[in-house]
Amino acid sequence: MEVELRGITKRFGPVVANQDVNLTIRPGEVLGLLGENGAGKSTLMNVLCGLYRPDAGEILIDGAPVSFSGPGDAIAAGIGMVHQHFMLVPVFTVAENVVLGVEPTGRFDHLDLETARRKVREIGEAYGLTADPDALVEGLPVGVQQRVEIIKVLFRSANVLILDEPTAVLTPQEVSDFFEIVTSLRDSGKAIVFITHKLNEILDISDRISVLRGGRIIGEGDPRQMTKAQLAEMMVGRPVRFDVEKTSFAPGEALLEVDGLTVLRDNGELAVDNVSLSVRSGEVVGLAGVQGNGQSALIEAITGLSRPAQGRIRFLGEDITAASVRSRHRMGMAHIPEDRQHVGLIPGFTVAENMVLDSYYDDRFSRGPQVRWTNVQEWSAGAILDFDIRTPSVFAEAGHLSGGNQQKLIVARELARDTKFVVAAQPTRGLDVGSIEYIHARLMAARAEGDGVLLMSSELDEILALADRILVMFKGRIVAEFHTSEAPPEKSEIGLAMAGVAA
């Protein structure tokens, strides 16, 4: 089944999300769709799977024009989408989830789960998508849950599969398993659209690449003849540097010393189990691990958001185990939090208000009980220009900025003062290459000034590019340590440690 999008234009009020887009999706082929956040990838795919109606243009299946009035029509036509955020019922089994909405029924509307189980097994065998039909979804690893999503789409006899940022949630090992599945789907004649902003992956898996920028197709090509740099330039519209510029490694004295730290979750479970680590001045320590292995809890304890059950934290030689968030901030600790939408910013507040969220009490910005908003606004304007934050004004609501600009706002707020230590949690998650490049450069500048940096990231590439030392966390413990200054460690070794396999 060949699907052609011809001259698709989609407007939201004055905003043009897609402009005259032509795209052909062929059976037995993986089409890589590359683009920054906001380039119009999701809009285009939502048009294809029937969620939006295009303002102009048409969709052709095997040469015949079709019109979808809802997602049901697209599914009936054989187009299935695997969303970035899974749409599964956690307390249902795999088989129950797969048949949800199109349940095979017997007499008197009897739910025929046996057929469902058989179908799940059949699909699994055909494409290497192994999943136990009777397992509860909530107990499955993320990688398997994703397989269930794909089985769901295949169960509805999809011939075109749209995979929206499918690797964002996977470990490196799971990614290579996932690529095998994609390959076997392709070889069996399915048409695949692979949406991503990760350049390595798109070069690895695609047979053809289309790049979207500003709602238009900017370029198409054969991955065998394209380089990362070319793709990035197409995507962003200017040359992008990939090699992070790093000054030579010259660590100073230890800034942060964590000793025997144990942190419990709210339900009393062990989140961090007797962890000790230190970060020196001028050193970037990367904290790698699959999400949910205690990295977030460790960072909350270091930044003062939670109290550890046991252990000591020393910062600049002082014991700060019981110190408040604010006193740590005053001592020169900066924190770029993991959840920028809910923790790092207040979306309904203005850019200027967000710029001083944790420093409004400072003498620069207040006098007596009053905040000196004029000073705040002027300083914010300066920081906006310094950190290249795209906003129409300091009075704009932070929630209206793009993800990359929101993150730059947080980075600006945290780094535009005299810091000594930076805690950066997932600083570039979900951002486009342009913003990533910029934020990496800022972190490296902090390192060059002698700051210690604790970088938590689930992107192994990011950690490998920035960190001088890598700590791998698994089930609340640090299970491996790698030094990058001598010889760069093998990605697969780190990946194995992340999966809990002892090195």
Binding site: S42, V325, L345, V371, I384
Partner: protein
């Protein structure tokens, strides 16, 4: 142009305030306006459905207008009724901004009023310049203390303020009844629960009695206007106000920013209670001259509506309070002139809130009042 000039121009551009957008205008002005109109129409339909003559309906709305703004006496009544609503409404609005849904204004008004009355007759020997401010302050302090109980419970134990403030309301009703029978509070020679009178040197002075002794407008209106300005300043110009707003908008972000959540909850509740307590003091010192059971008369609940209608903004609360004051004063005239029960006013007030809470309904009813919405949210 040099590099420096370019930077200056860019930063000047960033500091320009955009003109308020059409959407803001619609949300802040057009929706409330149409909500009032829709409520009045539905009020008329209610009367029609209950066999009130169309002519009477016309007369009653005319009376509503005359009784609220039709004469000096009407305006005096409107302002007198609006003052406590605005004061208590400001407190609730401040609480909403801080993420606290305080239902307890009624109890805080009672506590503030009792404190002001007791202060008044206990220190009646003091001169006016000392006694009146002292009574006002003790009213505010009692309200603040009473509300901070709920704040402390929330901060220390996580007990939700909706529950605790409702319960504190219950306690306050009975506490007032009980106190009104205490020998040192009860008016001598009376068997019913009623307090001693507030002495003249503790009263908020009447402002217009030199024109006509029936004009009830008193100095509490200045207290009210001052409160509007102070609350605006507190919320939008001070560090504490920034902390209130940040905690209300995102408790997680406030915690991340190093704000002390527990302290902020207690302070926000105390400030809200102080304003409600002032409303209570305003009533006993300016209008009632004594305390009797249930003298709060539901002001604390109407004030919730005022705060919501005013979009939790001090200036909005001022206008919403004036509107409710006008409905109150005009409703009494309506009852006298057209014989329509003042209960209808309660219905209209409630309808206004329903329409405010459902802006989409207002937009659907009056499509010509709004710009056509765009076909999507513009994000991909």
């Amino acid at each position: 142009m040099s590099m420096q000039d370019t930077l200056d121009t860019a930063s000047r551009k960033l500091l320009e305030r955009a003109a308020p957008g059409r959407v803001d205008f619609e949300n802040l002005v057009v929706v409330p306006l149409f909500a009032v109109v829709a409520a009045l129409i539905l009020g008329a339909l209610t009367m029609l459905a209950t066999s009130v003559e169309p002519a009477t309906i016309g007369r009653s709305y005319l009376a509503l207008l005359q009784g609220s703004v039709g004469s000096l006496a009407a305006i005096s009544e409107t302002l007198t009724a609006a003052a406590p609503l605005i004061l208590a409404g400001l407190g609730l609005a401040l609480g909403f901004r801080a993420g606290l849904f305080n239902i307890g204004a009624e109890g805080q008004i009672l506590m503030g009023g009792m404190a002001a009355v007791i202060c008044g007759f206990s220190f009646s020997h003091l001169p006016f310049a000392v006694l009146m401010p002292l009574c006002v302050i003790s009213g505010g302090a009692a309200g603040a203390f009473y509300a901070s109980i709920a704040g402390w419970l929330r901060a220390a134990t996580g007990a939700h303020e909706v529950i605790t403030t409702i319960m504190l309301n219950m306690i306050s009703y009975r506490l007032v009844d009980y106190m009104l029978r205490l020998p040192w509070v009860q008016r001598p020679g009376r068997a019913d629960p009623i307090s001693q009178s507030v002495p003249p040197n503790a009263e908020l002075p009447a402002l217009l009695q030199w024109l006509d002794p029936n004009l009830r407008l008193h100095a509490g209106i200045f207290l009210t206007l001052l409160a509007v300005v102070v609350v605006y300043w507190l919320l939008f110009r001070t560090k504490l106000g920034f902390e209130f707003r940040a905690s209300g908008a995102s408790p997680e972000a406030a915690r991340y920013a190093g704000m002390r959540a527990s302290l902020i909850i207690v302070l926000a509740m105390a400030t809200a209670g102080m304003l409600a307590g002032l409303a209570g003091a305003n009533q006993v010192l300016g209008v009632l001259g004594r305390a009797s059971p249930g003298f709060s008369a539901g002001i604390g609940f109407d004030a919730i509506a005022v705060a919501l209608l005013g979009r939790s903004h001090p200036v909005g609360v001022l206008f919403a309070g004036l509107l409710f004051g006008a409905l109150e004063a005009g409703g009494r005239q309506m009852q006298v002139d057209a014989g329509v029960s003042i209960d209808l006013i309660g219905i209209i007030q409630a309808l206004i809130i329903v329409f405010i809470a459902a802006p989409l309904l207002v937009r659907a009813l009056f499509p010509w009042g709004f710009r056509r919405p765009d076909s999507g949210d513009g994000r991909s």
